[in-house]
Amino acid sequence: MPWMIPRILKNLFGGPATIRYPFEKREPFLFENFRGRFEHDSEKCDLCGDCQRLCPSEAIKVDEENRTVTWDPFKCIYCHICVESCFHQALKPVVEYTLPAYVKKQVVWQVPEKK
């Protein structure tokens, strides 16, 4: 295979193409548009329910009576429509993957009464 020789020499003397992941981590993402986990700012939320209406996988539930927002990280497809649609910017993306878990637990955010 004479055509592969340049590549073989490059691979022999160059570094590895892979990263030793848990020890080395890649540089952070550009434009801060990484779609991963997000957090809820209870001070800004006014329970309008836009996120619930737009969510394609119905992973967010807004309960106006009990003043709670429930998010199911295992139903979520991480499209970030809710983050983009939130008028008050109460949902904030975090540059972090959602970790695996033994129990499929929902995240409940309590929204305090506004004066």
């Binding site: 590549r7 193409a17 550009l30 548009n33 990484f34 497809i77 499209c79």
Partner: protein, 359 residues
């Protein structure tokens, strides 16, 4: 000579997805093929009728992970036609850029799988090393490695800054191009590769036309058929000529895909040069009432979406015709007459995507 019936699939090392072919063999030569699909049906078309229409791009993206952007694009174009709205020019160009990135990623994945299918493990790893660069570009511009989630009805929901497009984006694309050009001679000139591909699974131009082959399968048989020529999105303003190879064997189809990677890079660079500065999203002002078709070119061929609205926020019907579904009859015409050992490579040469086929 007695006939032997041999099952091929649904679990087979060469197949990433489940398809079952019943092969009738006579002395190691395939005489007859019966396909059996239906192992991963998920009812996505029905799901599209139960969701509000603006949620569906995220659902149809999950029809197929390898070509997910094209599914969302085809759905959005169909609904935009039904709504009789025009997308801003910058959104059209961004759609072209992402669609072609998707094509590069899909074709590099397939070239790697082809190398893997005839046991050329090191070439497989080299192609996937190049593919990782395209995945990196997708992650930086959209936020995730595989699922784009950027196409919405009315435009796109993310913008790529111009200085990034002309800076690092172009640089990485040129790196991909140099890497592919360095590796292609290995795939295309190597005698062992030629021995497994040349003259295997021949589909003549007449058969390709008669049986309705689409995409690289049709272009590998000499048919000049490419939905990008219809000028959807911004393709009408870009200058390109589809790659056509006349031979019609597995090698010709591999050649078409390999050349299309380089062509897609050229198309993206051309689109970056012409991209206008306008808004990227227009909000639809009513609900779809009419019916509309959209036809776009996926990595595997022509993808058709048909949507019918009824004046509410739910669709009456959403029909998806995927390219692999159209390419199964040509596959059945290719297989008879070949040896049992060539069946995996010929099956792979149409780039089967069973998740697409069954939806």
């Amino acid at each position: 000579m007695a006939k032997t019936v041999m099952p091929f699939g649904p679990q087979h090392p060469v197949l990433p997805e489940p398809i079952h072919l019943t092969l009738v063999l006579e002395d190691d030569i395939v005489q007859e093929v019966l396909p059996n699909i239906g192992y991963c049906h998920r009812g996505i078309e029905k799901g599209c009728e139960r969701n509000a229409y603006w949620k569906n791009p995220r659902l149809v993206e999950h029809v197929c992970g390898i070509c997910n952007f094209m599914h969302a694009q085809a759905y959005c174009e169909a609904v935009e036609k039904a709504l009789e709205m025009e997308v801003p020019p910058r959104a059209k160009y961004l759609r072209v850029i992402w669609a072609e990135l998707n094509r590069i990623r899909s074709h590099l994945l397939w070239l790697g799988l082809l190398a893997d299918a005839f046991g050329f493990e090191s070439l497989f790893m080299q192609f996937w090393r190049i593919r990782e660069k395209s995945v990196f570009l997708i992650e930086k511009t959209t936020g995730n490695r595989i699922i784009f989630s950027t196409c919405v009805v009315g435009g796109v929901n993310k913008d790529i800054p111009n200085d990034y497009l002309r800076g690092e984006f172009t640089k990485v694309l040129k790196e991909i191009k140099a890497d592919v050009e360095e590796l292609l001679p290995v795939l295309l000139k190597d005698p062992t590769v030629k021995a497994r591909c040349v003259g295997k699974g021949v589909l003549s131009k007449e058969d390709a036309h008669k049986l309705g082959a689409v995409g690289p399968t049709a272009r590998g048989s000499g048919l000049r058929q490419d939905m990008r020529l219809t000028g959807h999105a911004a393709y009408g303003e870009l200058d390109f000529e589809p790659v056509v190879e006349p031979d019609g064997d597995s090698y010709a189809r591999a050649l078409v895909r390999a050349k299309e990677v380089l062509q897609s890079i050229e198309l993206i660079l051309e689109a970056i040069g012409k991209i206008p500065d306008t808004e990227i999203f227009i909000k639809p002002d009513h609900w779809p009432e009419k019916e509309a078709f959209s036809r776009i070119e996926q990595p595997r061929g022509e993808l058709i979406y048909y949507v019918k609205g009824n004046g509410t926020r739910y669709l009456e019907r959403c029909k998806i015709r995927t390219p692999t579904f159209a390419n199964i009859p040509p596959l059945l015409a290719m297989l008879p007459g070949c040896e049992m050992a060539d069946v995996p490579i010929i099956t792979l040469s149409i780039d089967p995507c069973i998740a697409c086929t069954e939806r």
